[in-house]
């Protein structure tokens, strides 16, 4: 039994099937990556785990069946989510954005805020700034920070490097590594950039057209010529 077990998950948008029979299992403290092209279903998969999209199949957290629970319930059970489009509150300050993240974790505010400021010193410098006036990199930091304010045990991160400069990507990667190594968080990250994913994750799942088409460690997947060509630029 993993910390999170997804079994035969399918999701639909109207009549279009976005995910078909996806099964994923993650061990506590592990970092895994979901790799796939645009429209492969990566964001849908994370939205499903978060209870934002109706699904068939089952999702278990530490063995407990949590399929169909609301997002707020999932947050309470220890899942933090940094979505691709951030979904920040544009006319609130950085600090207030982070505090909304603490909605269900009020007794941990001081501890979590200190941790977020240690990881992203820039957020402390700019805590009074409205997020609508921030750069993409800074918004990504607020988004990750807000997820950390929920006191998560599992962190879902959707395409953290999309549209960001390489220097910022490295900073984000560094933070994700720290979260796993120092805080023992379980991390599920989605990426189009397989090399970035490889630098973080111990295992990868390849998602194509809503199906998991391959899974394994980095070395195992690199042996597959077809995959190597499509995703690893080999």
């Amino acid at each position: 039994m993993g910390i999170i077990d997804i079994d035969n998950l399918s999701a639909f948008y109207g009549k279009a099937q976005a995910l078909s029979n996806v099964s994923i299992s993650v061990e506590p403290g592990e970092t895994i990556a979901i790799v796939g092209a645009n429209g492969a279903g990566k964001s849908t998969l994370l939205d499903c785990i978060m209870g934002l999209v109706k699904t068939t199949g089952t999702i278990r957290l530490n063995g407990e069946d949590v399929t169909g629970l609301k997002s707020s319930q999932m947050v309470k059970r220890g899942i933090g989510y940094a979505p691709e489009r951030f979904n920040l509150f544009p006319h609130m300050t950085v600090r207030d954005n982070l505090l909304v993240g603490a909605y269900t974790a009020r007794e941990d505010i001081e501890k979590n805020m200190a941790a977020v400021h240690r990881l992203f010193p820039r957020l402390e410098e700019r805590e009074g700034q409205e997020t609508s006036t921030q750069s993409g990199g800074e918004r990504q930091m607020v988004s990750l920070g807000r997820a950390l304010m929920t006191s998560p045990r599992i962190l879902l991160v959707d395409e953290p490097t999309i549209g960001l400069a390489p220097k910022v990507c490295n900073e984000i990667a560094e933070v994700l590594r720290k979260l796993s190594a120092e805080l023992g968080l379980t991390v599920i990250v989605t990426e189009q950039n397989a090399n970035f994913a490889l630098s973080l994750a111990s295992r990868l799942y390849v998602l194509e057209g809503g199906h998991v088409t391959a899974t394994g460690t980095a070395e195992e997947l690199a042996k597959d010529d077809q995959l190597a060509k499509s995703y690893f630029g080999a």
Partner: protein, 283 residues
């Protein structure tokens, strides 16, 4: 001149209070709650019934009005807004129908004729040559107290911040652990309570009648459209613009023109600056 300034301030404070509850629902629930005037009317009548017909203390009358208003807001959310989720036009039409039903209920229970509320606090004071009743002064002071309390609540509490969050990004709020449904429900209750509180003061400023719900809705729509979505400060400022506009027009021109300039202001702002004078651009 002094008369105009004092009357303007008094009327504007009242308008600000009335518009606040309407603005909350417009910003957070994304609904133009055309039945908002029903809270105001019911608030006025409940206060009248409790304090003047049954003879309870005025404080009990006021609190009773606020509680009934809040319950009405809750029920409306549960029975109409939630089942019609995602269809603002259907919600607006049903809320309007509801207001008309409430009007009939009031006629049935209290009769057609207008009723005069006894002053909440009797007496008159002269400020710089202008005669001001304690009643309207008390209404204005209470308006400000309620507005400041609301501001502190929205800016400084977890629930208040969650309300702002839901108004800006529902998904973002949900993944932060906020249940947008619950926040919406709380907002509807607060809005109902605010409307009923405003209704008590509005009724004491004018009088009680089964059609008294119409004018406050128009004023609220005007203030929120001109002020812009999601801004307590904007609502406050525009309430003063509209309040003073009305007082000045009545004083220097003719009482019949009272609402005309307000309407022209709405149309002007809709054309020149659709997001409102103090509103933010929607993404």
């Amino acid at each position: 001149m002094m008369q105009i300034i004092i009357q303007g301030l008094l009327l504007s404070g009242l308008y600000a209070l009335i518009a606040m509850g309407f603005m909350l629902i417009f910003s957070i629930g994304r609904t133009l709650n055309l039945a908002y005037g029903a809270y105001i009317m019911v608030g006025g009548y409940i206060y009248f019934w409790l304090s003047q017909q049954i003879g309870m203390p005025k404080v009990v009358g006021f609190l009773g009005a606020v509680v009934v208003g809040a319950i009405m807001g809750l029920l409306k959310h549960r029975l109409i807004v939630k089942p019609l989720k995602g269809d603002p036009v259907a919600v607006e039409i049903s809320t309007l129908i509801l207001a008309v039903i409430m009007q009939s209920a009031v006629v049935l229970l209290f009769g057609d004729a207008s009723k005069i509320l006894l002053p909440i606090i009797p007496g008159v004071v002269t400020i710089s040559g202008a005669q001001v009743t304690y009643n309207i002064l008390a209404a204005t002071v209470m308006s400000w107290v309620i507005i400041l309390a609301l501001y502190a609540f929205i800016r400084g509490t977890h629930t208040g911040r969650a309300m702002q969050a839901v108004s800006m990004d529902q998904k973002g709020a949900a993944i932060s652990g906020v249940d947008p449904d619950r926040i919406n429900m709380i907002t509807w209750a607060i809005s109902g309570g605010l409307g009923a509180a405003g209704g008590v003061f509005f009724a004491s400023y004018t009088q009680l009648s089964p059609t008294m719900w119409v004018a406050p809705v128009i004023i609220s729509v005007a203030i929120v459209i001109v002020g812009g979505i999601g801004s307590i400060i904007g609502t406050l400022i525009v309430a003063h613009i509209i309040g003073f506009l009305e007082i000045i027009v009545v004083a220097v021109w003719a009482p019949e023109l009272r609402g005309v300039f307000t309407m022209l202001l709405i149309i002007g702002v809709l054309i020149m600056r659709p997001q409102g004078l103090f509103g933010r651009e929607e993404h």
